[in-house]
């Protein structure tokens, strides 16, 4: 793998080459992505916008290794992702990717602390309570660590999810409309927090949003329409 060179301004992290995604349903095949070419560089924040159904979620799920692509190539630091098998994709995710969903997706049977610890435990390492506490403190949930998801508000749950996405110190943070289920006040707080932490951890952020105001916070905005990037 390429050695990590610090302060190189435009180090390429992700490269998508002519990505196609076709989804088969029982009756027809829908071409969701129709040839996406995209480079994402280290430390930048990319906002992805577009009409509903344009293929935004599909695109970032490809980057997260969660979507099976039909054609094209994806590289992560020159490492080809497109021909990894399921297990290697899982490994790739647990090492490099933190995902935040619109619906927070915490495990209901685990406390906030346990939820934050989950990714490292899944990757077979010892849980890191210190780091998890720090993260929960950073997202403002210092006195909520032993609460279960159902004891937390939506905003709080999303903050736990953010803490969870950062626990294994991933290079890339992927967020699919992280504020879609939150009210205005909570949305602003969560977004602020997200950018703050991104900066603090030096990670790359790829963010899908409907909110033009949020998009404008990003270094770069990419618009998707009908499965293609438009300028």
């Amino acid at each position: 793998m390429t050695p990590k060179i610090k302060n190189e301004k435009k180090k390429k992290l992700i490269e998508l080459e002519n990505i196609h995604v076709d989804l088969k349903s029982s009756f027809e095949t829908i071409n969701v992505l129709k040839g996406i070419n995209l480079k994402i560089f280290k430390n930048e924040s990319v906002g992805i916008v577009g009409e509903s159904g344009a293929g935004k979620s599909t695109l970032i799920m490809c980057i997260a290794g969660l979507e099976l692509i039909s054609k094209g190539k994806i590289f992560f630091k020159n490492l080809p992702i497109h021909n990894l098998n399921e297990d290697d994709l899982a490994l790739y995710r647990s090492k490099n990717i933190g995902v935040i969903f619109q619906s927070f997706n915490l495990l209901p049977s685990m406390t906030a602390l346990e939820n934050v610890n989950l990714p490292i435990e899944i990757s077979g390492n010892f849980k890191n309570n210190k780091m998890a506490m720090e993260l929960l403190t950073a997202v403002g949930l210092k006195n909520r660590i032993f609460h279960y998801p159902h004891q937390l508000s939506g905003g709080e749950q999303q903050r736990v999810a953010i803490a969870r996405s950062l626990i294994s110190n991933p290079e890339i943070l992927i967020a699919d409309e992280p504020t879609g289920n939150l009210d205005k006040k909570n949305s602003e707080d969560v977004i602020k927090l997200l950018f703050q932490l991104k900066k603090h951890f030096g990670s790359t952020l790829i963010l899908v949003t409907h909110d033009t105001f949020v998009a404008k916070l990003c270094d770069r905005i990419i618009r998707i329409d009908n499965g293609l990037i438009v300028k």
């Binding site: 790739y92 495990l107 049977s109």
Partner: protein
């Protein structure tokens, strides 16, 4: 490695938190199966060790020598008395009369007359307790007897009462609490009555030709010098048969083995069916956990990790359920020891054996893993992308060969274990084949149905079209529902058909074919008188009598039977005394399979007619020679024909019927049956005979049938309740499926409502969807149920298929209604929901 396991374990426990309730059915299933196997195993191990410890006492000596009809030759008797301790016993059946002199009642009993040496080992215990070796009071004038408790309970006579046996009057001196040389204390033909040989001699019941057993129990002085071979030498050429403690224990062990195989089989089937319950429970559980699994995968969990997490949970559940199951299983002998002591052994001290524990553990473990791993493999199919939308058909479809290998190995171990448990290769092979067959059958049939349903071309109206699409769409759970319910339902249907066929057979037999009573020990000089009485009471065709004598087969085609290998199923024919009859007239209702009957006036060398299946088992055919020893004399007969013997008709069925040549001069007795012409008439006829001829005993067939039937019923109840449990486990799967699909359905309802459907209409659509799924289940189960019961009835029970149409209809409609009502109730909230609220809050 260990650390890894530990880490996984804590994760599993955390994931399990709060969902413990979901495992109720899994726990119940494992518990039930393992409990039955460990309980049966413990009981049979305990019985066997008990037999081993008490075998001398149970046989009443180291050897038992016995003859029927005749006493031993004097020289044998005196040799035994010189060379060891002996006690001589006479056993016969007779009618005991009781009640007031003017209206005596009668009951068949088993007499056992003993001498002063009895018993050689152990002690006869009576209540009230009498501290004498043998409380029979030989002093005249009062003759005393001891009776079984069952006799006291049945006819209400008690200590101090007077009864009659033959010509003599006896006083009941006590109730037998313990008769040492008796393995079973339950009655065979009648309850036991103990008396002294001297007293028996005076009753006048010892008549030549009556079925009387003479037994001598023997403990040699020098056990090293005198063994079975010595005794065999001694009795050579006589009709004395010998039992030693070895072959007695073997026989009894065989009996215990056979019974425990049968019950273990029920346990195994329970476990397999519980396997279906386990599988269903786990399936439902995994369905409910779909989202959690997707989340973990999105966080980087590999498939194997997910499998590991849930497998760990199942293992914990397994341990939790198996420990109490085994504990209860091994405590069963303790719980039942009073009953076993009373019914089987006189004293029974249970203990704990390792083998049943390990076997039930192993069985439970393998079944649990086997039936868990398949639904757990479904977790491989769950894609993290489902967190943002319903998964499409895109998938990598990875199946692990490692896991397939494990499944294969587990199945092999299971087969080996079963073979080991059943101990009969042929039987276990059939069982394994039929079990696998049924599973494949259910699976294949379900898929076929869905295939047909998805290929229907013609239009059947829009609602049906909607339902058809809903059921056959690729990610529909309909298949799971069908498979989950089919197992239980087909079992219920099979059982129902078998039960009603057996029932029908028995009632028909009792009402028409089977005799109502047996009369035994009729003396040759009495038979003509009895025939005349029968003529006036019952008419000629309703009374059937045949002469009978007993003898042993010594040689087949000039080869000693000891050295001949025969089919296991007919071995019993050679083992002990058998009953013979003779007739130059072809007996009523005889169906010849090969050969023909000898002429009516035949007077040549001895010929024999033999049961066809027995002949085949003994590798005999027409023209072959059989040598018998009857009352010490040898006879050789040539096989002239073979007959079909239908045991179930409960009539007189002689395996061997000889030609008239000379045999009729041997001491013999007659046996007779009466056909049912009306209960009162039959009863008064039998009453007349047994009161007039005190040596004749009667046996009622209806009572025998009743006891068989009650055992059968118990079994059917047990298996039925297991089948019901499977149905309940089906409901669990259904609940899981409905809960997972709720969100989609909610959306569907909202749309349907916005498009103008009333709640009634929505409910109707769903009703149809689930009802059709239920009907598919029923049809599949009906096919399987009829097929399996037909095969069983035809090839195992040998009786005609019969079913109760109403019951089958009820069973058929049970599942569709169960599924429909349950799912509708579960979704009531959805149907009544306000569409706009739903759309706003969910999408």
């Amino acid at each position: 490695m260990l650390l890894e396991t530990l880490k996984n374990l804590t994760l599993s426990i955390r994931e399990l938190r709060g969902s413990f309730n979901e495992f109720k059915i899994v726990v119940a299933s494992i518990f039930l199966g393992v409990f039955i196997i460990s309980a049966v195993g413990s009981i049979s191990q305990n019985l066997k060790s008990e037999i081993k410890n008490k075998r001398v006492e149970m046989l009443g000596g180291n050897f038992e020598l016995s003859t029927t009809y005749q006493e031993f030759p004097k020289n044998i008797k005196s040799w035994l008395e010189e060379n060891g301790k002996t006690t001589h016993i006479i056993e016969l059946r007779t009618m005991l009369s009781y009640g007031s002199q003017s209206s005596l009642k009668r009951r068949i009993v088993e007499l056992k007359a003993v001498d002063n040496n009895y018993p050689l080992v152990g002690k006869v215990l009576t209540s009230p307790f009498q501290n004498v070796k043998l409380p029979l009071g030989t002093k005249k004038p009062e003759k005393k007897i001891l009776i079984d408790k069952s006799l006291k309970d049945q006819i209400g006579i008690d200590v101090g009462d007077f009864v009659y046996l033959g010509k003599s009057k006896f006083k009941i001196n006590g109730i037998i609490e313990k008769e040492p040389d008796r393995i079973f204390s339950f009655a065979t033909f009648g309850p036991r009555v103990l008396l002294s040989t001297q007293a028996l001699n005076e009753t006048g019941l010892l008549k030549a030709g009556s079925l009387i057993k003479y037994k001598t129990k023997f403990i040699p002085n020098n056990k090293n010098k005198i063994n079975l071979a010595t005794l065999n030498d001694l009795v050579k050429g006589t009709n004395v048969s010998i039992r030693s403690i070895e072959n007695t224990t073997n026989n009894f062990n065989n009996f215990v083995d056979r019974t425990s195989i049968f019950i273990s089989l029920v346990g195994l089937i329970t476990l397999l069916i519980s396997g279906a319950g386990i599988s269903n429970g786990v399936k439902g559980y995994i369905i409910k956990k779909t989202k959690n699994i997707a989340i973990m995968k999105s966080l980087g969990a590999k498939n194997s990790k997910v499998l590991n997490i849930y497998l760990n949970q199942i293992l914990m559940i397994f341990l939790i359920s198996i420990i109490p199951a085994i504990m209860l299983g091994i405590s069963i002998p303790y719980l039942f020891s009073p009953i076993i002591s009373q019914e089987l052994f006189n004293t029974f001290e249970p203990s704990i054996f390792l083998q049943p524990i390990s076997i039930s553990f192993l069985y439970g473990f393998i079944i649990c893993i086997l039936f868990t791993i398949l639904p757990l493999l479904k977790t491989y199919k769950i894609k993290p992308i489902e967190l943002i939308r319903k998964s499409s058909e895109n998938s990598l479809n990875e199946t692990s060969y490692k896991i397939k290998g494990i499944i294969f190995i587990l199945i092999c171990i299971l087969c080996v274990l079963t073979m080991n448990l059943i101990n009969d290769k042929k039987l276990s092979f059939y069982i394994l084949i039929s079990i696998t067959g049924s599973f494949i059958f259910i699976y294949g049939l379900t898929n076929l149905k869905f295939y047909i349903l998805s290929k229907i071309k013609f239009r059947l109206g829009t609602t049906f079209e909607y339902v058809r699409k809903a059921i056959t769409k690729s990610n529909s759970f309909a298949r799971s529902i069908v498979i989950s319910f089919s197992i239980g339902l087909s079992l219920l249907i099979t059982l129902n058909i078998i039960e009603s066929s057996l029932d029908k057979r028995i009632t028909v037999a009792i009402n028409q074919q089977a005799p109502s009573h047996f009369l035994i020990d009729i003396q040759p000089q009495q038979i003509e008188k009895i025939k005349n009485i029968a003529l006036s009471f019952l008419g000629e065709t309703n009374f059937n009598s045949q002469p009978m004598l007993r003898g042993r087969i010594t040689e087949l085609n000039n080869q000693l039977v000891q050295g001949i290998k025969v089919d296991k199923e007919v071995e019993w024919v050679l083992r002990r005394d058998r009953a013979f009859s003779w007739s130059n007239k072809i007996p009523k209702n005889t169906k010849l399979i090969s050969g023909e009957w000898w002429p009516k006036n035949y007077d040549g060398p001895l010929l024999v007619s033999i049961g066809d299946k027995i002949a085949k088992g003994l590798n005999l055919k027409i023209g072959d020679k059989i040598k018998f020893n009857i009352l010490g004399r040898s006879f050789e007969a040539q096989i002239f024909n073979t007959r079909e013997i239908i045991w179930e008709n409960m009539d007189i069925n002689f395996i061997f019927i000889l030609s008239n040549s000379n045999i009729e001069n041997a001491p013999h007795s007659w046996i007779a049956t009466t056909k049912n012409v009306g209960q009162n008439l039959n009863n008064s006829f039998v009453e007349k005979i047994v009161s007039e001829f005190s040596n004749i005993s009667s046996i009622s067939i209806e009572e025998s049938y009743k006891s068989i039937k009650s055992i059968l019923n118990l079994l059917i109840i047990i298996i039925n309740s297991i089948a019901l449990i499977t149905l309940v486990s089906g409901i669990i799967v259904l609940a899981g499926i409905i809960d997972v699909g709720k969100k989609d359905k909610l959306y569907e309802v909202a749309i349907l409502k916005i498009l103008g459907a009333t709640p009634k209409r929505v409910a109707y659509l769903w009703f149809k969807e689930y009802f059709i799924i239920g009907l598919i289940t029923s049809v599949i189960s009906l096919i399987i149920g009829f097929f399996v019961s037909y095969v069983l009835l035809n090839y195992v029970f040998n009786i005609e298929i019969y079913f109760d149409f109403k019951m089958i209809c009820i069973l058929t409609l049970l599942v569709p209604f169960l599924i429909t009502i349950f799912s509708l109730l579960r979704m009531m909230g959805l149907i009544m929901s306000k569409p706009l609220v739903v759309l706003r809050s969910y999408f």
